[in-house]
């Protein structure tokens, strides 16, 4: 038996590593961690105005950019007791759905599933919707404490772009299902224990019991010396156990890790429908922001259903500046269970499984 540290190219930014005990070409025991240089969002926002925490969160990782900004804005609103107008809440939900479509479509495009061209078409459609609602196609700058800093949304155009993309999304779903069937036959994966699924709610926003989330340092979570030495990430568990988050958790689980891709393709279709519905019920020149935001003090938290799973932000503010911050990302949860999916696989198969899980080194370390 030998212990190897493998770099895994999942298609996402950052440096993801698997420390694996390998016998006769197959993984016997494995741990998944990140060696990405820490941005340390929690530290770099300290003493900065809370608005900076929003724009900084949007630059942690491309996949969940809008969702991360929304989570920070909502945690700040919770801390400051800011009541966001209903139009803004609906527009934010729409923005988050577009972010899910953008992220999932790009993940599918680079997953060697044969859907590159239509998937990138969907990325473009989603970016167009993000631009119309969030101000720019990436890192949407309209996300702000108190709502969205935008005066009008071209709701008819949003609805039209979403509806036009549905047909392509359904084609992608068919192709992904077929490709995943082939992958599943080639890959035998038996997790030691089926994890419980964790999702915020059936919408993008809701309550997660922060007290039930346990955040562990590398020394506390990892068993192998090598992993403890190289890991630059924390690991999150829910109610003392690893929890599955993300598209598969939102649909009630996955029998096999590669089914995460199917869950993504399904979600793209349902989110596009959701965007069209939401846009049709939205007042294009509604009230998207409250002016009733003061640079006050307080403590608050928010949980957002980001593309790859539950994203939790907790803030303590002092005179409008960040006094303490915490961000728990989807990859923090996924790292806790990823290692258990790998025993019995070859090194090549490890990459396929981790790619389907949607792990990002950047998200994991942030």
């Amino acid at each position: 038996m030998r212990v190897e540290t493998l770099r895994v190219a999942t298609g996402e930014p950052g440096e993801l590593r698997v420390v694996a005990e390998i016998t006769e070409g197959k993984v016997v025991n494995a741990e998944v961690c990140s060696t990405t240089t820490p941005l340390s969002w929690e530290t770099l926002v300290l003493e900065k105005p809370v608005e900076f925490a929003v724009v900084a969160a949007e630059r942690v990782c491309r996949g969940c950019d809008a969702s991360a900004g929304l989570a920070v804005a909502e945690a700040a609103e919770d801390a400051l007791g800011v009541d966001v107008p209903d139009d803004a809440r609906r527009a934010r939900e729409l923005l988050n759905m577009a972010n899910v479509v953008k992220s999932h479509a790009r993940t599918l495009a680079v997953a060697d599933l044969g859907v590159e061209e239509p998937a990138y078409e969907l990325v473009r459609a989603a970016k167009e919707i993000v631009r119309m609602v969030g101000g720019k196609p990436q890192h949407p700058p309209a996300v702000t404490v108190g709502g969205l800093a935008i005066e009008r949304i071209p709701v008819e155009r949003v609805e039209s772009v979403a509806k036009d993309a549905v047909e392509t999304a359904e084609e992608v779903l068919d192709d992904v299902e077929s490709a995943v069937d082939d992958l599943r036959e080639d890959l035998e994966v038996e997790p030691r224990e089926r994890p419980t699924e964790l999702s915020v709610s059936d919408t993008y926003r809701g309550d997660v019991d922060r007290g039930a989330i346990e955040v562990l340092t590398p020394e506390e979570f990892y068993r192998m010396r090598t992993t403890r030495r190289i890991a630059t990430n924390l690991v999150a568990q829910y109610e003392g156990k690893p929890a599955l988050v993300g598209p598969a958790a939102r649909r009630g689980g996955a029998e096999h890790p590669v089914e995460h891709h199917v869950a993504r393709a399904e979600e793209i279709v349902s989110m596009l429908d959701g965007i069209a519905d939401a846009a049709s019920g939205l007042d294009g020149s509604g009230e998207y922001r409250t002016d009733d935001v003061e640079a006050g003090s307080g403590e608050g938290a928010a949980a957002v259903e980001a593309p790859e799973g539950v994203l939790v932000v907790r803030l303590r503010l002092r005179n409008g500046r960040v006094d303490e911050a915490e961000m728990i990302t989807p990859s923090n949860f996924k790292a806790a269970l990823a290692g258990d999916l790998l025993p019995g696989l070859t090194v090549e198969e490890v990459e396929t499984v981790l790619r389907s899980l949607g792990l990002s080194g950047r998200c994991l370390t942030h």
Partner: protein, 238 residues
Amino acid sequence: MRVALLSLMSCGSCAENLEIVCQSEGHELVWSSLRDDGEVPDVDVLFVDGAVDFADADARERLERAVSSADVVVSLGSCAATGGFERHAIGMREPARYHFTVFPAAKFADTDYAIIGCPPTEDAIASFLEALEEGDDDRLEPYRVLSGDFHGLDPNLPSPVRGPEATVEDVLLTSNKDLCLGCDLDVVERELFCTGCGACAASCPAWAIEIDEKPEIREDRCIRCGTCFATCPRSFRA
């Protein structure tokens, strides 16, 4: 064109836009560090996405190897071109280790061009590749000027700085988190070059600039990407 992508300290948005452009404009993305772990094949253009952590010897070595496989090297996005947002990086939580060591790619490798933006738009990337393919030097000139040490962090530094030869002073000076391309807008305004055209505000990816006859930077939203400076029609002071 045969294109490769090396992603370093980055959120991945620049890479996403490059992938889309390659797919839609018929360029062949033959290698990407996001998807491949092997050596970079010979390519026409290498795009470097993200800043370089001086403390990360592995990243510096990967950059050096990748550059040697390409005819043309391009810093893709503000983080690669100037350090950009990544210069805010703090480093490890525990133990308290600080990274005052985030550099643009040009500090460690000879780069030919840079495309500023957070992220650069698909149109900007496509337009650059078209100019490169056509050998249109006039259109390439702004990208050339923005590469290398133009980022204004320290024009006296020898370029490129190679690995351990950098002094502590060099590291600290070039990591000054208060400096950025955007700050040069003050120079533009102070020297009465500013016409109040609003190009900076329109291009700002964080909506950190408001125009009240002249630009006013909202420090609470500025990410120091330099897009405003690169966009300003009067910032290139010959």
